[in-house]
């Protein structure tokens, strides 16, 4: 049933992707390092105030311009590093896509049957979502914080979660697998980028309040980062809501009842509730953006537990033992 050659090519793409991401990560780091001399400048002119002030106020505040000021005062070396980083991130994403496609072809099914495959497709979505979005706005400041976790997850996928290419068990043979799990993985990818942006926001905010200068001064202003994070979360949250509903529909097909309070369902529900609380807190007057951001990070902590802990250590129907 399984095509060994294709499975080997899939692994080869994965190794290449990891090599490429290592390069991408280093270049993203080099870009940030290149921004460092900002410390010497007396006042980084962050709020770009153009000549026709009346027309450009919102533009400057919206943070669409990304890293601090114009590109002109970024050292050439850093800009070059960012260019290489962007290309290699794209390349790594496409290699992951190749890995996913080859893996699917090798087993004649949707390549989402085990933790290894979740991790690879999740990384692919994360990187491609980041790269696609980068074409619309300057996200170079975020690159390191996307490629580094992706590399970590891929390493875990190979070392800890690796599973040989094979068919899946009967409860996974359903088109609901394609719908439910793919959207779950996509939502997780967007939550991941959102969590990275939220973390940067909180750190930058704390550093700024402490009155210290750092490379973070060259990132977009805190409000813009926070809005970026919010924008990511309101994309991911409906996706997660859909995941929850599709999972319930599938559970009724496979296990007779749409909701069983199985550990995986409990955590999916908890994640949903925590992120709902985040959206709520952001709309509640008197709750600071920092507090809201901590709730978002708590939500992401639950996402990690749901994947790395619940799948492995909790007894439930999702572990598919003893059917």
């Amino acid at each position: 049933m399984t095509n060994e050659t294709l499975a080997e090519y899939a692994n080869l793409s994965l190794y290449s992707a990891m090599a490429v991401f290592t390069l991408a990560m280093l270049c993203h780091a080099a870009y940030l390092a290149g921004l460092l001399p900002a410390r010497d400048r007396t006042a980084p002119d962050r709020e770009l105030v153009a000549a026709g002030a009346s027309t450009s106020t919102t533009r400057a505040a919206s943070g669409e311009r990304g890293a601090g000021a114009t590109d002109d005062d970024v050292p050439l070396r850093a800009r070059k590093a960012a260019g290489v980083a962007s290309t290699t991130t794209w390349l790594g994403g496409l290699l992951l896509l190749a890995c996913v496609v080859l893996r699917g072809l090798s087993v004649h099914r949707w390549p989402l049957g085990n933790m290894f495959e979740f991790a690879v497709m999740g990384s692919m979505f994360t990187v491609l979502a980041y790269s696609l979005w980068s074409t619309r706005r300057d996200l170079r400041w975020l690159g390191l914080f996307v490629t580094a976790p992706v590399l970590l997850v891929l390493g875990m996928a190979l070392r800890v979660w690796y599973t040989e290419a094979a068919q899946v068990m009967p409860s996974l043979q359903s088109y609901w697998l394609v719908i439910h799990v793919t959207v779950a993985v996509l939502a997780t990818a967007v939550f991941t980028i959102g969590a990275a942006a939220t973390g940067i926001y909180l750190v930058k905010d704390a550093v700024q309040r402490a009155g210290r200068t750092s490379v973070l001064d060259r990132f977009p202003e805190t409000g813009a980062i926070e809005r970026t994070a919010y924008g990511l979360h309101i994309v991911a949250f409906p996706l997660w809501t859909f995941t929850l509903i599709a999972g319930a529909i599938w559970a009724r097909q496979a296990w007779a009842s749409y909701w069983n309070w199985d550990p995986k369902e409990v955590w999916t529900f908890v994640i949903w509730v925590v992120y709902a609380a985040y959206l709520h807190s952001r709309a509640t007057s008197g709750i600071s953006r920092q507090t809201a951001s901590y709730i978002a990070l708590a939500g992401y902590a639950c996402v990690i537990v749901n994947f790395a802990v619940v799948n492995v250590f909790f007894v439930g129907q999702h572990s598919y033992s003893g059917l």
Binding site: A165, Y230, P238, A248, Q253, A254, W255, S281, G322
Partner: protein, 540 residues
């Protein structure tokens, strides 16, 4: 006198109103949401009685101090515990108390006219100024058309301004989302009250009739009459099971690959029969109930004869798998034998191996080399008529049969083999191996309500997150030269809105596009009051 009576009442009413306001505040809702998340967690950590009663009992037995306390506090039945219910009920009361006044306000807002334009539009952060070569009235007329085409609702409070607003769908979506959540719970409640579920094990070749008596376990909702189940029947003709044999990597070899039960059903006894299949993920929908294939296993066919060779027991006996290779435990209870009753207890092994350390085990889930490993007891099978598991022998009033050397008698049977039991107890024959289907049958009249409400909630959520509530204002004032007008467009949004600036620009551009173009020959385009880089200055 009167005062003394009414005052405490007033105070109580004040308190009540204060408490209601607290309960329905956004802060309380937020707190309750977080509390709900935390309260849901223990159910994933501790075994839950309604999901796995055996594991729960094991846990309590192996934690003699903490176990009973956790039990008393509801940790083994979290989702039916009073504290969990308290949280979500408070949340939903808060939700109703929040949604009703908001709906009323929204209803009014939708029918109200957009507010008067602020006097100084330049104060708004998103604004544009331009000068056009027409009268102010014509500009306002054009602006009204432009905004209407962009689906703004417009209103002119005076002769030199225009107010417009759109995006009511955001709040509508938000309200729909919150109301739909209530209906999700309503659907769950209907399913809980009027739904039922039952499990039954049906060996291949046997027929199941949907009556209460036939179920191994049956859990009806509180308002279900179990005597009125739809009277369908279902015979399991064949059960196919395949397992992974080719891939030998970790965690794959021996994994189940396909289970299919071929069945013949009738809607009522005696009605025309119909053939169909049930697979995992492909339930069979009977009238008023879904039939799900949730388990399977082996039912070795065994014949027991007495000393004279008369058959006293014959048929498939389900054994319960206890690991992924279907090492199965079970008991064969032979009450019919004259004198003492016999009970065989032990293992069925689909692919048998006698391991040095673990003893007899199965090493593959398919029936490649089946064997029965049994011990024999005799005495009273059903002491006191107590209910007992069909897979376990109650040996309280039985004694184990020994061999000549005084060791417990061990029987190892392969298909076709007969063993004569010592001491004139007759014989046992292992005729062959059948499979059984573990069926779960379920009726949930609330599921469509829940599904519809959940989808509605999703739609409302998307609308509330995607749609922007925006106001656009226009002011016109005569410019220096007659027949020219200075237009100021400004925007206002509810919450963050990075696209607002572009909307303001778009409105202005569209208004300008409707203005008569200056004649081509005009050598000196009107001076612009816009900053460098705006589109308007390119157009003149």
């Amino acid at each position: 006198m009167v005062e003394q009576v009414t005052q405490p009442q007033l105070r109580a009413a004040g308190w009540l109103r204060w408490m209601w306001r607290q309960l329905t505040s956004m802060r309380t809702a937020l707190f309750l949401l977080l509390l709900l998340a935390v309260a849901a967690l223990p159910g994933s950590i501790w075994p839950q009685r309604s999901i796995d009663a055996a594991r729960t009992a094991d846990y309590i037995a192996s934690h003699p101090t903490a176990g009973p306390w956790l039990d008393r506090l509801g940790f083994f039945e979290v989702y039916a515990s009073p504290w969990f219910a308290a949280i979500y009920l408070l949340l939903f009361i808060s939700l109703v108390g929040c949604v009703l006044p908001r709906s009323r306000m929204h209803w009014r807002a939708m029918r109200a006219t957009p507010p008067r334009a602020p006097a100084r539009l330049e104060r708004l952060s998103a604004h544009r100024v331009a000068e056009v070569a027409v009268e102010p009235g014509a500009v306002l007329e054009a602006a009204r058309e432009v905004l209407a085409r962009k689906r703004f609702r417009t209103h002119a409070h005076d002769l030199d301004s225009l107010s417009a607003e759109k995006g009511f769908l955001k709040e509508t979506g938000n309200l729909v989302f919150h109301v739909a959540l209530i209906f999700v719970i309503v659907g769950v409640a209907i399913g809980h009250l009027f739904g039922w579920k039952g499990d039954v094990i049906v060996p291949v070749g046997q027929t199941f009739a949907n009556t209460l008596l036939r179920y191994d376990t049956f859990a009806p909702g509180p308002w279900v009459d179990p005597q009125t189940l739809a009277p369908f029947t279902l015979r399991v003709d064949r059960l196919d099971a395949t397992f992974e044999e080719n891939v030998t990597g970790r965690g794959q070899f021996g994994q189940p690959r396909d289970f299919t039960a071929h069945v013949t059903t009738t809607a009522t006894p005696g009605a025309a029969s119909q053939r169909s299949t049930i697979k995992v993920n492909h339930p069979l929908e009977m009238q008023g109930a879904g039939v799900f294939l949730l388990g399977n296993g082996y039912a070795p066919v065994v014949t027991v004869r007495d000393a004279r060779g008369n058959e006293v027991y014959s048929g498939p006996t389900p054994f319960l798998a206890r690991d992924n290779n279907y090492t199965s435990v079970g008991a064969i209870k032979v009450p019919g034998a004259a004198g003492k009753q016999l009970g065989f207890s032990g293992l069925f092994l689909p692919t048998a191996l006698v391991d040095r350390e673990q003893g007899p085990i199965s090493v593959f889930p398919d029936a490649k080399k089946p064997a029965l490993a049994l011990t024999l007891f005799e005495g009273q099978l059903f002491p006191g008529g107590r209910p007992q598991s069909v897979y376990v022998l109650d040996t309280a009033e039985m004694t184990q049969v020994k061999n000549d050397k005084g060791e417990p008698l061990r029987l190892w049977l392969e298909p076709g083999k007969t063993i004569t039991l010592p001491g004139d107890r007759g014989s046992i024959t292992f005729d062959g191996v059948d499979r059984f289907a573990g069926l779960s049958i379920r009726h949930d009249p609330g599921k469509l309500v829940t599904l519809a409400a959940a989808l509605l909630a999703l739609a409302g959520l998307v609308a509330s997150l995607v749609v922007r509530r925006r106001r656009v204002f226009l002011r016109v004032s005569p410019a220096g030269p007659a027949g020219r007008t200075v237009v100021t467009v400004a925007g206002m949004a509810k919450g963050d809105d990075e696209g607002l600036d572009r909307v303001v620009q778009d409105v202005l551009t569209a208004v300008q596009d409707r203005m008569p173009r200056p004649p081509e020959t005009d050598p000196d385009p009107a001076p612009s009051r816009l900053g460098a880089g705006s589109r308007w200055s390119d157009r003149g």
